[in-house]
Symmetry: C2
Subunit: 778 residues, 2 copies
Amino acid sequence: MSSVIISTADPNADREDSITVPLLSGLRSVPNSSSQVAIVGVNVCPIESLDYEIFENELFKQDWRSRGKLQIFQYTFMKWLLCFLIGLIVSLVGFCNNLAVENLAGMKFVVTSNMMLESRYGMAFLVFSVSNFVLTLFASIITAFIAPAAAGSGIPEVKAYLNGVDAPGIFTLRTLVVKIVGSISAVSSSLLVGKAGPMVHTGACIASLLGQGGSKKYGLTWGWLRFFKNDRDRRDLVTCGSAAGIAAAFRAPVGGVLFALEEMASWWRSALLWRSFFTTAVVALVLRAFIDLCLSGKCGLFGTGGLIMFDVYSESVSYHLVDVPPVLALGVIGGILGSLYNFLLEKVLRIYSLINERSIGYKICLACSISIFTSCLLFGLPWLASCRPCPADASEACPTIGRSGNYKKFQCPAGYYNDLASLIFNTNDDAIRNLFSKGTDDEFQHSSVLIFFFTCFFLSIFSYGVVAPAGLFVPVIVTGASYGRFVGMLVGPHSNLNHGLYAVLGATSLLGGSMRMTVSLCVIILELTNNLLLLPLIMLVLLVSKTVADAFNGNIYDLIMKAKGFPYLETHAEPYMRQLSVGDVVTGPLQLFHGIEKVGNIVHVLMTTRHNGFPIIDEPPHSECPVLFGIILRAHLVTLLKKKAFLSTPDLTGGSNASKQFLAGDFAKRGSGNDEKIEDIDLSEEEMEMFIDLHPFTNASPYTVVETMSLAKALLLFREVGLRHLLVIPKISSRSPVVGILTRHDFMPEHILSLHPMLVRSRWKRLRFRFPPLSKLF
Amino acid sequence: MSSVIISTADPNADREDSITVPLLSGLRSVPNSSSQVAIVGVNVCPIESLDYEIFENELFKQDWRSRGKLQIFQYTFMKWLLCFLIGLIVSLVGFCNNLAVENLAGMKFVVTSNMMLESRYGMAFLVFSVSNFVLTLFASIITAFIAPAAAGSGIPEVKAYLNGVDAPGIFTLRTLVVKIVGSISAVSSSLLVGKAGPMVHTGACIASLLGQGGSKKYGLTWGWLRFFKNDRDRRDLVTCGSAAGIAAAFRAPVGGVLFALEEMASWWRSALLWRSFFTTAVVALVLRAFIDLCLSGKCGLFGTGGLIMFDVYSESVSYHLVDVPPVLALGVIGGILGSLYNFLLEKVLRIYSLINERSIGYKICLACSISIFTSCLLFGLPWLASCRPCPADASEACPTIGRSGNYKKFQCPAGYYNDLASLIFNTNDDAIRNLFSKGTDDEFQHSSVLIFFFTCFFLSIFSYGVVAPAGLFVPVIVTGASYGRFVGMLVGPHSNLNHGLYAVLGATSLLGGSMRMTVSLCVIILELTNNLLLLPLIMLVLLVSKTVADAFNGNIYDLIMKAKGFPYLETHAEPYMRQLSVGDVVTGPLQLFHGIEKVGNIVHVLMTTRHNGFPIIDEPPHSECPVLFGIILRAHLVTLLKKKAFLSTPDLTGGSNASKQFLAGDFAKRGSGNDEKIEDIDLSEEEMEMFIDLHPFTNASPYTVVETMSLAKALLLFREVGLRHLLVIPKISSRSPVVGILTRHDFMPEHILSLHPMLVRSRWKRLRFRFPPLSKLF
């Protein structure tokens, strides 16, 4: 027993103290340990934790006991119906998104190319750059003015939500609309941004909105949805929604499930696997039906394409031991490039956030200048490449005119094509298709691929942070594919693999180096390219690139999430947490209530603190000695105050009536940001002197830890069970029955290290700083 | 607060009570709540729980603090090295297994077929049945006499192990050898058993043996392995091993990871995903290298075949809305058949266990009679089928002579083939290949496929329970494929899909109906058949068949596990658990120790109970009031007693020395079954009067719950954190500081319902019985 307890002030004393502070002067006077801020989209917003714990109070138990077969059927049926609807709507959105982008961007390129055929180069540039500029401007204006939370990919926000951090505005209808429309126009504007990330956010948003059950304001709600008005069920739906997002973006249903499992979700159960599988199966079936529909040519200019986006199937892929070294090299370089990519992207984001926080005008200017710069590069760079004669045995018309294809004419004479334009003056999807294609080993010059690689690498880094919906998947794939193709061209005839397969492996390596996923990336790549024989090499490349990149920094989404300030709770405990006890990090002052509490006291405490959970204790004469009864939430207290179910005397006899005035539904948790505020409740002087019996509304089964427990073990409990509040009880029972509350914030390394600065210099901390990723390996 | 606490007797009184019982008369006199029995393989053995919790005592903290960079490097390096070795060895075993089976069974069929060509039918039957008989006899003899734990598929045992149930003998070297050799001979003997299940057990076994770090007895151990001598690290290795098993059996590396995740593991972390992915990547690369090697013909008669076992790729699979109804029907029937399969298999296993428990002779007789019966069926049934003329446009020689193929000649004249013999008188892998093949829509008659289906369905049910290693995957695939092919033949020209694809979907539906996996089955089927375009239909079939089957009963492995008596801890709480508090299920008597305890008392308690964890309390004069200090394990007490680090007086001054006599390694957990026993320790009368300071060896951070907490929430903590013991503390602090211990056993529905029989009749229980699978959906 060696733990040194840094004595927290006597909690009871604290309580007396804070209660004597006058009502108004105390606002925000106590340290605010439960409310934090983070960058959501592009704006700084306050964030809260989510309640995943089942709040077992008297009312809940009554409600639970009263649920009959019908209610259970309703709940189960609704759960599957919601998953079905999520799958259906997300696949519709994904399909329309794809169609809109293909037609918008396609039209733009067709018009520009036609002008170039007529040698009206200046006009072509004007049309190209102005249409890009207008599309970017539109995307950034709607994002900045209507829904700033829709900026960026949204994956960090959704990931934080699934970890238990509620950021306001990420799941509103407004965000959803802006995300969809903004993503279409941003991608069509030739900015080097992807649509997979926004699709994940869109899917999560649709799931959350469906789960919220319409709008109470407009009377659009359904009784059957009442079971979903809690964070636990909403979390499951959002997980399914993000799986559906990836499934719709890449037509990769299994990859979507695995992405949600590996990258997004912090809590996973086999039931959830089954439900998200159902959701993505719906996506797959609906997409397949639409593809059937589009094959008959009803989807406009560019609406064709099968279930597999970048098919590189070949009957027999032969590779032998001699092909392993270049593939290994591909993995190593991919890992280095990936971590460099993450590093630069984070730095650029930090610079952008300085610009973005100034005013909306700056944000939009930034987006527009990036657009102009991009247009200049895309139109200007192909002039550097020399024209190449069309190959005699080309599998398609050369040069390609009036449609997307491998051989762009650009400025070249008839019979010639511009290989750099085929890559750069094209949509990203077509560029990837060109890079992945087999039988085109002689199509590209070294210099063109290299120029394309550098352009993509830097443009995608600079484009991500603009105030518009922007994903990272496709930019990383296109960058990686160009680098892989280049390596393939260097290795050349010494290898059995064609250059297209090298491009696939290059894309895999950069994805692995930047996103650090394993199984999900592997399956997504498989579902994108349909080449199962390549699987051993894909696995090898992923292993190597992730290992190499992990030696430098973290996963791109984690870096962004941390830079944005989300308090993400890791599963593993830092080594120094084993040396600290819970008592070492609990900070006061603690706010307690009695089982029967004076209304005035409750109002005062709610007004003067931002705490969300309050321990309830019973003291003599209501019990023989001070006893911890449970914990009550701020939102529930506000509801109680609003309904004014007060007692005139602190007497238990009338207590049983109080709970009858309420239904479990009164305490249902609404969507984020819709909470009622204590400031909106009017109470008379007389009412302030009355009492409330809090017992029926108190969670009587709170999780507790003893103050001497090691912090690492408390974290394990907090994280695995998914808590918002963890009560700390004293070791020696003669003291107050509760000495503090741990929240997410108390487990953050920054918080702990600020309390115990000597740890920063200690060996444990140093070790961690030198080998940052090692602790993750434990 | 309405929970009715069924008052457990005062724990202190209990303790006094049991201490006054004389030493010898009390053996096993107290209820044995921690040691249970279950059927492991075919024998009944005692089982224990595993310790996944980090045991944070003084010694551990010292050891942890003293670990420098070198130790951390050793640990990390060894972890990856072990995973590499697991992958390497499992793929070698899988490859050899495959090769041995192909050559053994292939030779048998070639010899028999040659005799049949010479019309020596009697002789052929004799050779066929005798060789089958000998192989089965060999498999059952080595299993029954050398390692009974190797019988069956082993998946239920490994799954229980990963849930925290330690069954002795499942991971010994003996079991490993018998499993490999027995599986080869059982599969070669034409018994309808698979090799995937045994491969999972083999992989887990190899992982566990590697983690145990050789044998101390023979001096074969390595210092670097000392970090792995605990159940937590061993659990991770076993998970990787089972992933490698599936990867090697089906050449499905991603499917293997997902199988381990979805079906096997009870605790999952992203680090584990990454490590098992590494393991299966090694498997994929090694297998790929061997396949390269075998292409040059060095692997005997039948050692060819690519990375994809049953390739059904086709350039474009076209299906439309019209194909959905038959596919849905396939799913529904597959679900019904799958649940029927599970039901019958469990019943047959119960009957077999009555036979098996009689004597070894009975077991072997049972296996032999199944073998004879199988031989008769396989040889006899093809005579029922009429000979069919060879198709003119056959893609291969017809009839097939001297090798495996689609057109078996059997008894037919030249130019004719026997379609039933092509299926039934063949290895399972070849039968599956025939059923999956495209362009062979006219090959089979309705009656032949139907006969084959019924034969497979019942033979596989009767073959599984014999005393030999036997898997279920391949039998289910072959049965499902025949049923799917039959449906395809019925639908015939009304569908766009060929019969081979129907067979694939049929296999999928029966797998889904029997094993109830989703993502992992989907990926395994994809990796087996390499037809990505079929993915939406595969997902649809899996969804339907699992949903239908879930309405009847549970997953096959769970049924077997429960029938065998493993106390598997589910993640979800039963509804009635919300109505019970922890105090309602805690049963006495509780055994406590003091911080400084008399040796005699410890010996007495260890001799008279089988408990594995004992709370340690400090009482006056060592503390101001009785305080819970922590919990100590039986194994640690035995080690302490063995080292005789005793004090002559109950005095704290000498206490600090005690811990210096020990290293953390002294308390390392050995492999199962190797624990030292209290009975083996000799102590003199004098020593019995001495004292031990237990403080440095006590886990001072035990997880605790208050006795009024609801059982459902306690289960959540117990299950999510992975505990073996959960201490129950009193609500009112004036009582003893601990009122009971919860173990796995206390959360078992059978235990709870036996304590509270009224729950059986209550609505909650009834609801559960009427809709058994519903509770899983929550």
